[in-house]
Structure formats: structure tokens, C-alpha cells
């Protein structure tokens, strides 16, 4: 059979670009990065991860693939290998400019080559050059890190994507491969932001092996599969994943918590100090809450942030003062000054928080400055809680600004995202003297806030220092409840001594370090480099001394830093032709509004965004629960009226909103669409009675200044799992009980028997509570309210 195709003369395809597109349709691989494989071994609180990135050339020309990607911000990159077919070539670790020169020469000579550089603690750039059409290579990167322990849980967070981040300032140049220019505010911004991918994703093949007996495993994002395997566990996402979110793994080890641990490998020593359990020392607080309402917070993040703020606000005590600051590219304050915590302020603040609505850019600096503004009188402490997704490129300026204001207040950061900016959140908390909490919008945000609150007022120990060797981070550390402090010390002293100041005086402990088979050098070096880089941010004039020290530490321990690079050259192969550079686009993180993929709208019509005119997002669940309490127990007229009013207002607003929005064009509709989305999410959350109880509590800790209702609320909270010292609602319980002790000693005595039992770890059942009420001759109506509330 004869087939005939006319010989095409060398001519332009008349279908032009459409044909280029058509050619690529149905092709599996359009971008150079074809897959990412992650294998992690976790032993104790250390992790070793091998990240293998596969690149293929889908073009007709020689390719240079550029990949901007994140690695764990506390990780030490210790090795890189280039795999070409069966051959494995190991990289050299050199000063960055030498490595760049070696790479440029290899490119010139047509050799395959790879270059890994660090732009920030988390953001890295990998270049792979001279990849001929149709060929593929793999690059293996080895990262070691020490894991954080939070409330007895060891956590490993592996980021897989750099989200689109806001860039402040005026453009000044563009020397990096990223899609944003350098600006006067962020001089290295052009190295940080990959293009955004519009469709599809890079398959992620991730597997973690945790050695030793572990318990209480959870993964906040992907579903996971558990296979028991010689005492340890193997975990992997159960479904197909792509690089669009952080992978977070948390587990508990079965080792008993002791005050002091130390291990040594003979050259370096790791010391871990557990916070002592001390009575909460209550100091009147000036609490400043700063919340990010920029566009990237749209959707479930905003719902979570509001819930976090409300929970934190209701956790304050009588005598405290508070301020609320919301920011996008403008600053909004609840009140110009700090407000005394009372019922009126609380009600107004709840409304103000409900009405917040995400929109513009992410100008963090003025908001943080405002949070530290003004004087805090003697005898009060100021704390700042910064609630954000952290999606700004602005890092050095913010770190410097917070460090310079450290003596005014402690800064606690709460990062909420599926791909949170852990580097920024942790650095700000570190220089701000507080701690960072990172969570996904789907996490139990109220539980997270309860943990922050437990640490808020005052640390359990300050001026924690070790002696017996040079600590990588020589500054004294601060200990907060549930957050052990770690020191990496150069040297292997026979005894490690730790001293600290607590409310009851100074404490000295010592320990003989145990032997460790794990080499601690890279971890020490990574922590040292982090400390030196923080110093460089705070004291740019010391660069001449600090730069060489970072470089020397980096090279001596084989740990990548901003001033070094890993370079690998395959001298066995040669290609011709200048390679074409393609920068791998990054996915939009999971859960982000699809509007991020589209072109930004021209400019919002005046008055269209935010402000008092926008509808409020009302948590219907909470209203419902308050109502059920109101029906069972007598409730003061004011509060009863409020619950009804909220529900009515909401219905009216919904109607008005529908009438107000006559099918606007797609782009302009985005903000109100997002608001609807948020409300739908808030509505979808089932009514949590404990949350409703926390929210309806008065500023003085009581429920309508009514002893019986207050006692009922405390008993209900005990049945729901909170006591004065444990559970998500411990602040609510503590405040209500304190009020009872002062105003209603009889009820306080009844409640105390249950509190004592629950706090001693004994079970408290509904029946017991019922009996107690009958014994005390209390009315049945009150009983029903307790039961109603617990059954939600």
C-alpha cells in the first residue's frame, strides 16, 4: 500500500502559533520538571530527607531548566548528586561565585551540569543545563534537620511549593530568574518568585519512615497510609499528590518527658531543656492582635483567622486591655487606643472582626510598627499576636523592625495556610521573643490558639543558657509551656550545665550527655548560619565580619548557605548549541482562590470593596448554640435580644446583598463571591457548643452575672473536655471559675469537686453532674441546659 505525503518545503506553518499550541496538546510533559520523589528517615527528633527531582526536555532544542523551590527552612542541605542514566556524579560545595563560574564554563563547553543555590532559608534555585531534546536526568538533594517539638508532639513539615507572594516597594532592577523585580524594600526579590502554573501539577511521590515506637500519628494535610514495620512506621499520602501544599506530619514518641536531655557525637552536643511546669503567673496584659486581610487570605484562611482572633480575644482576662489591627495595603484599627476589656468592647470587637473582609496587598511593615507603637505602663506586659499566611517577600525589613522593638512587646506569630511561609513566621517570632505556630486552615484553630494563650502572658523561664561549650546560637533562650528549648554546642564536655530564671528564682541543672550515632556537625552549622544571618539582618554594617564567618562555617561543615553553592558537572557528555532557559512554573497552593490564576481586575470601582457597607459574615452555629442555652436557662434580656438580632440581621443582609448585586462582570464579582464562600464555610462548620460558650462569656468571666448559669457553663465545659489547665477552652473555664469563687462560693464548691476530679485525670460523666445538682437542690431547668449544651 502506498502512502503519500507531499514533501513540505521549508516554510512557515501557516497556522502559526496555534499549531505550536496544538503540537503540545495531549503531551504528558510540557514543563521540564516531571516528578518529585521525597524519602525521609526520621529517628528521634532528627530527619534526613532525600529529594529527587526528575527533569526531561520536552523541547526541540537543548534545555537549561531552572527550578525555584522550597526546602524546610531549618534544614541543612549537605549533598547533591546528578544522575545521568546509571551514572551518579556527586557535587562539589564551593563559594557561590566559584561554583557559578564552574557551572558557566560547563555550560559553555556543552557538558551537562547542575547548580544549587540558596536564596533564603527556604527558597532554593536548581539549574540543570545542556539537557538534549528527549533526554532526562535526576538530581538528588540531601537535607538533614532537627524537628520541633510542640506540646509533646514532634512535627515535620515539608514544603513543596512557593506561593505567589506580595512584593512591597518600587522596582529597581531585575537580575534573578524570578518573575518579580527587585525593589527598594526587597533588593533580592527577583530571585524569589517562580512563574505561576495555570493548569496541571508535578506528581509528588513522598514516603516517610519513622523509627522507633511512636503514637498519635497525624498528618494535617494529605490523607496517609500506615504500615507497621518493625516497630516504626511507613507513611505516604494515600492519594495521588502534586506539589501544591506543605506535607505536615506530627507524632508522639513514647519517651517520658524529663527536664533535661543531652546527646553527643564526640564533637558536638545537643541539649534539650523541657519547660518546667509552673503555676501560671498572671500579669495584666496589653494584648495587640494584628490580622492580615490581604487578598491571599480569601476563603477558608480568613474564616480560620477570624475564628483565631475571636478565640484569642475571648481568652483575655478582666483587667486586660486590647487593640485590634487589620491590614492589607491599608491599616484599619478597631479603636485608635488600647481598649479596656469589658462586655461593651467585647461585643463591638466581635462585630468588627465579623465584618473583616480580605482584599488588597500585604503591607505588613506599617501594621507591625503600629502594633509596637505607644507605651506600655509599668506592671503590664504587652503581647502581639500576628495572624497571617505570611505571603509577602518582605522578610529582612520585617525581621529588623521587630527586633528593634523587641523590648516593647513579645511577638507571637500564627501562620495559617496550606503552604505557609514558615521562614518568615519563625524568624519574626524568634527575634520578637515569642514562638511561632504554623497550621493549615483546616486544623483545629481554636485548639492552636488555646496553646498560644497558654504561653502568652509570661514565659516559664528566661535567660536559659548552657555552659560547657560554644552554642551555635549563643543568646540566652526563653522557655514557654509546651515548647522545649534546644542548644547545639560545639565540643563534648563530660557534663552539661543549664541555668535559667523562673518566677520562683534561678534554677541550675546538669547532665552527662549520652552517646549519639547521628552526626550533629551539620545541624550545629545550620543553626550557627541561621544565627549569623539573623545578625546580618539586624546589623548590616557588620557584613564585612559576618559574611566570611558564614562562608567559613558553611564550607567547613559542608552545609549550603546563601554564600555557597553545590555544583556538579558531567564531563563525559557534550552537546552542541546554546541551551534555551525555561523556568519551571509553580502550582497555586491548594485551597487558594482561583481568582489568583486570572488577570487582576483593572482597578476596583470606588467604594466597591470592604468597609461598613459590606455584609458581615456571621457564625450561625454559634448563634444557634447561644440560643439553645438561652431557651433552657433564663438569660438577661440584653443577651437574648442580641442572639435574635444577629440572626435577623443576617437574613436581612443576605436579602439586601442579593438585591444589591445585579450580575456584575466576572472579575468585579470576585470579592463578594469570596465573602459568600467564607460564609458558606463558616456555616458548614457544625455548631461547637464549647466555642459558643467561650464566645458568649462576659468580659468578667461570668454568664450574664448569673451564678447558676455560670456554674452550668463550667460544668458543660468540663463535660466537653476542658479544665483550668487542659483543653481548648481552659481560659474560659479558668475565668468563669474565678468569677464563681468571688461571687458565688456555694456554686463554686459544687463545681470545684468536678474540676478537681477532671484535673486529676478522672472521668466526669453527665450522670454525676445531674446527681450533684439534685443533691444541691438546684432546679431541673438548669440541668437541662447543661445537657443540651453538651449534646450540641
Amino acid at each position: 500500500m502506498m502512502t503519500l505525503a507531499p514533501t513540505l518545503p521549508e516554510t512557515r506553518d501557516p497556522r502559526g502559533f496555534g499549531a505550536l499550541v496544538a503540537l503540545h496538546e495531549g503531551r504528558e510533559v510540557a514543563f521540564p520538571l516531571t516528578s518529585v520523589r521525597v524519602r525521609t528517615e526520621i529517628a528521634g527528633d532528627c530527619a534526613r530527607t532525600v529529594v529527587e527531582q526528575s527533569f526531561a526536555n520536552p523541547l526541540g532544542a537543548v534545555l537549561e531548566a531552572v527550578h525555584l523551590f522550597p526546602l524546610p527552612e531549618d534544614g541543612a542541605v549537605v549533598d547533591l548528586e546528578l544522575c545521568v542514566g546509571d551514572r551518579v556524579i556527586r557535587a562539589e560545595h564551593r563559594e557561590r561565585k566559584d561554583a557559578e563560574r564552574v557551572f558557566a564554563e560547563a555550560r559553555e563547553q556543552g557538558h551537562k551540569a547542575g547548580l544549587l543555590t540558596a536564596e533564603r532559608a527556604d527558597i532554593h534555585t536548581l539549574r540543570v543545563t545542556n539537557l538534549p531534546p528527549g533526554e532526562s536526568v535526576r538530581v538528588r538533594i540531601v537535607v538533614v534537620e532537627r524537628l520541633e517539638t510542640i506540646d509533646g508532639e514532634t512535627r515535620w513539615r515539608f514544603p513543596t511549593v512557593i506561593p505567589p507572594r506580595y512584593l512591597p516597594g518600587t522596582a529597581t532592577g531585575h537580575d534573578g530568574v524570578g518573575v518579580l523585580p527587585n525593589t527598594d524594600a526587597v533588593p533580592d526579590a527577583s530571585r524569589l518568585q517562580p512563574p505561576m502554573r495555570l493548569a496541571g501539577g508535578t506528581p509528588l511521590d513522598l514516603e516517610v519512615h519513622v523509627a522507633g515506637p511512636i503514637a498519635g500519628v497525624r498528618s494535617s494535610l494529605h490523607a496517609i497510609r500506615l504500615d507497621l514495620d518493625d516497630g516504626g512506621m511507613r507513611l505516604a499520602p494515600s492519594a495521588t499528590s502534586t506539589c501544591d501544599r506543605d506535607f505536615v506530619l506530627a507524632f508522639k514518641t513514647r519517651t517520658a518527658a524529663v527536664a533535661l536531655h543531652a546527646w553527643t557525637d564526640g564533637k558536638f552536643t545537643l541539649v534539650r531543656v523541657e519547660p518546667p511546669i509552673v503555676a501560671r503567673h498572671v500579669v495584666p496584659r496589653d494584648a495587640v492582635f494584628v490580622v492580615d486581610i490581604s487578598g491571599s487570605m480569601s476563603g477558608e484562611k480568613m474564616v480560620a483567622a477570624k475564628r483565631a482572633l475571636t478565640t484569642a480575644l475571648h481568652g483575655l482576662s478582666p483587667g486586660d486591655r486590647f487593640a485590634l489591627i487589620a491590614f492589607d495595603d491599608h491599616l484599619e484599627r478597631f479603636r485608635p487606643e488600647l481598649v479596656v476589656y469589658d462586655d461593651a468592647a467585647l461585643t463591638a470587637a466581635d462585630k468588627w472582626i465579623d465584618a473583616l473582609h480580605p482584599r488588597g496587598g500585604t503591607e505588613m511593615l506599617p501594621a507591625l510598627q503600629a502594633a509596637f507603637d505607644g507605651e506600655t505602663p509599668e506592671g503590664r506586659v504587652r503581647t502581639v499576636l500576628f495572624v497571617t499566611d505570611g505571603q509577602s517577600q518582605d522578610e529582612e525589613r520585617l525581621v529588623a523592625a521587630v527586633a528593634n522593638r523587641r523590648r516593647v512587646a513579645r511577638l507571637f506569630t500564627l501562620g495559617i495556610d496550606t503552604a505557609v511561609n514558615g521562614s518568615l513566621m519563625k524568624r519574626l517570632a524568634r527575634v520578637g521573643g515569642g514562638v511561632a505556630e504554623l497550621c493549615a486552615p483546616s486544623d483545629d484553630i481554636e485548639g492552636v490558639v488555646a496553646r498560644i494563650e497558654a504561653r502568652f502572658g509570661s514565659p516559664v523561664a528566661t535567660e536559659v543558657v548552657v555552659s560547657g561549650g560554644v552554642a551555635a546560637r549563643p543568646d540566652a533562650q526563653t522557655l514557654f509551656t509546651g515548647r522545649p528549648a534546644s542548644f547545639l554546642v560545639e565540643g563534648a564536655p563530660s557534663v552539661i550545665a543549664v541555668t535559667a530564671n523562673t518566677a520562683t528564682g534561678s534554677v541550675a541543672l546538669s547532665i552527662v550527655p549520652a552517646r549519639s550515632s547521628l552526626p550533629l556537625g551539620p545541624l550545629w552549622a545550620r543553626e550557627r548560619i541561621t544565627w549569623l544571618e539573623d545578625r546580618l539582618t539586624l546589623r548590616p554594617h557588620e557584613e564585612e565580619a559576618l559574611r566570611p564567618e558564614i562562608l567559613a562555617t558553611s564550607l567547613a561543615h559542608g552545609v549550603l548557605s546563601r554564600f555557597t553553592a553545590l555544583v556538579v558537572v558531567d564531563r563525559a557528555t557534550r552537546t552542541d548549541g546554546k541551551p534555551v532557559e525555561v523556568v519551571q512554573p509553580a502550582e497555586l497552593p491548594a485551597g487558594w482562590s482561583e481568582s489568583f490564576r486570572g488577570a487582576p481586575p483593572p482597578s476596583p470601582p470606588p467604594g466597591a470593596s470592604g468597609g461598613g457597607g459590606m455584609m458581615r459574615s456571621v457564625v450561625v452555629g454559634a448563634v444557634g448554640a447561644i440560643r439553645s442555652l438561652a431557651m433552657a436557662a433564663p438569660m438577661p434580656k440584653k443577651a437574648k435580644g442580641r442572639a435574635r438580632l444577629d440572626a435577623m440581621e443576617m437574613e436581612m443582609e443576605m436579602e439586601m446583598e442579593m438585591a444589591r448585586a445585579p450580575a456584575p462582570p466576572m472579575m468585579a464579582a470576585a470579592p463578594s463571591g469570596a465573602a459568600r464562600e467564607e460564609r458558606a464555610m463558616a456555616d458548614a462548620k457544625p455548631a461547637d457548643p464549647a466555642s459558643a460558650l467561650a464566645r458568649s462569656q462576659g468580659a468578667d468571666g461570668s454568664y450574664g452575672s448569673d451564678a447558676r448559669r455560670t456554674a452550668a457553663a463550667v460544668l458543660a465545659l468540663i463535660l466537653l473536655g476542658s479544665t483550668r489547665s487542659a483543653g481548648v477552652r481552659q481560659r474560659t473555664v479558668a475565668k468563669a471559675f474565678a468569677w464563681l469563687e468571688l461571687h458565688a462560693p456555694a456554686q463554686a464548691r459544687v463545681v470545684l469537686t468536678f474540676l478537681d476530679r477532671a484535673e486529676a485525670g478522672q472521668a466526669v460523666a453527665v450522670d454525676d453532674v445531674v446527681r450533684a445538682f439534685i443533691d444541691a437542690g438546684t432546679e431541673g431547668a438548669l440541668l437541662r441546659s447543661v445537657i443540651d449544651v453538651t449534646r450540641g
Binding site: 502506498m2 502559533f17 505550536l20 503540545h24 532544542a61 527577583s190 512563574p195 495555570l198 493548569a199
Partner: protein, 157 residues
């Protein structure tokens, strides 16, 4: 559409780049109601954020300097959209294109009306089961058929 070749050595600021692209695309139906018709600064920044338009050549003070390749990239994206391609498809196909490829694509596509007429192809049965399809724009149909007929005597009715 006018040729873009005269811009080969051009240097633009952002506004100049947008103006040149708008001029090149004049008369070309480049989008539906949802996509912006005229390239403006906002759209160029958006294309940059997708990796469809290269980083600027340089900065003159605080203003970015663009050139011919940037112009071609914008025109290519708009032309491909006019031909019915989605931005996601364009993003898969555009990176790594040489200036010559962009030149061909941008110029030709903009010349073609949005709904390009199907090409008139000639199909001839040379022998039983042997069909030949020829494109008159690419080959001289009569000449090819004449030589083919010699190879398949009697096949052509």
C-alpha cells in the same frame, strides 16, 4: 497586519511596549468579553507572572526596559488566544521558544482571521484503496498528479 520587523532594535518602556503591541494587534479580534482587548501594564505584569513574557532587558533608573522579544511574546500570546487557545495551553507551549519561532507565530497568526477558513485540499484516488491528499498551497497539484499517474497507470478515472 503590519510587520513587526521594524521594532527589531527597539527599546520600550512599559507604556511604549503596550502601545506597540496594541498597534500590532489592531484589527485582530484578540479576546472574548472576559479577556482584555488592549495590552496594558497590568496585563503585561500578569503575563510576566505566568512566565509568558521574559524579565525586562534592563532597568533605566526605576523604569524597566523592554525590547523586540517582549513585543513578540505579547503578540504571540494574544494571537494564540485569538486562534482559540487557552492561556493554560499557551503556557505549556510558549516557554523555550526562540525569537525566530515567535516571529513566525506572531506575524502569521495575527494575519489569519480568528476563524481561519479550512484549507481546500485535493483528494484523489490513484488506485483502489490508494488515496492522495494534496495541499494546493504547498505543491503544484497538476504536476504531482501527472508524475503519480505514471506510477499508477489506469488508476485515475
Amino acid at each position: 497586519m503590519k510587520s513587526l520587523l521594524h521594532h527589531r532594535e527597539a527599546r520600550f518602556d512599559l507604556d511604549g511596549l503596550c502601545a506597540a503591541a496594541a498597534e500590532a494587534l489592531r484589527g485582530v479580534q484578540t479576546g472574548d468579553a472576559r479577556t482584555s482587548d488592549t495590552p496594558d501594564a497590568r496585563l503585561v505584569r500578569y503575563y510576566q507572572s505566568l512566565g509568558l513574557v521574559d524579565r525586562p532587558l534592563a532597568y533605566a533608573g526605576r523604569s524597566a526596559v523592554y525590547g523586540y522579544r517582549h513585543l513578540l511574546q505579547i503578540v504571540a500570546v494574544k494571537s494564540a488566544q485569538a486562534a482559540g487557545a487557552s492561556l493554560a495551553q499557551i503556557q505549556r507551549a510558549l516557554p523555550g521558544r526562540t525569537t525566530a519561532e515567535l516571529e513566525a507565530a506572531a506575524v502569521d497568526e495575527a494575519d489569519v482571521p480568528p476563524q481561519a477558513k479550512p484549507r481546500a485540499l485535493v483528494t484523489v484516488e490513484l488506485a483502489r484503496g490508494v488515496l492522495v491528499t494534496l495541499d494546493p498551497e504547498l505543491v503544484d497539484v497538476d504536476q504531482v498528479l501527472a508524475s503519480l499517474t505514471l506510477a499508477f497507470p489506469g488508476g485515475r478515472s
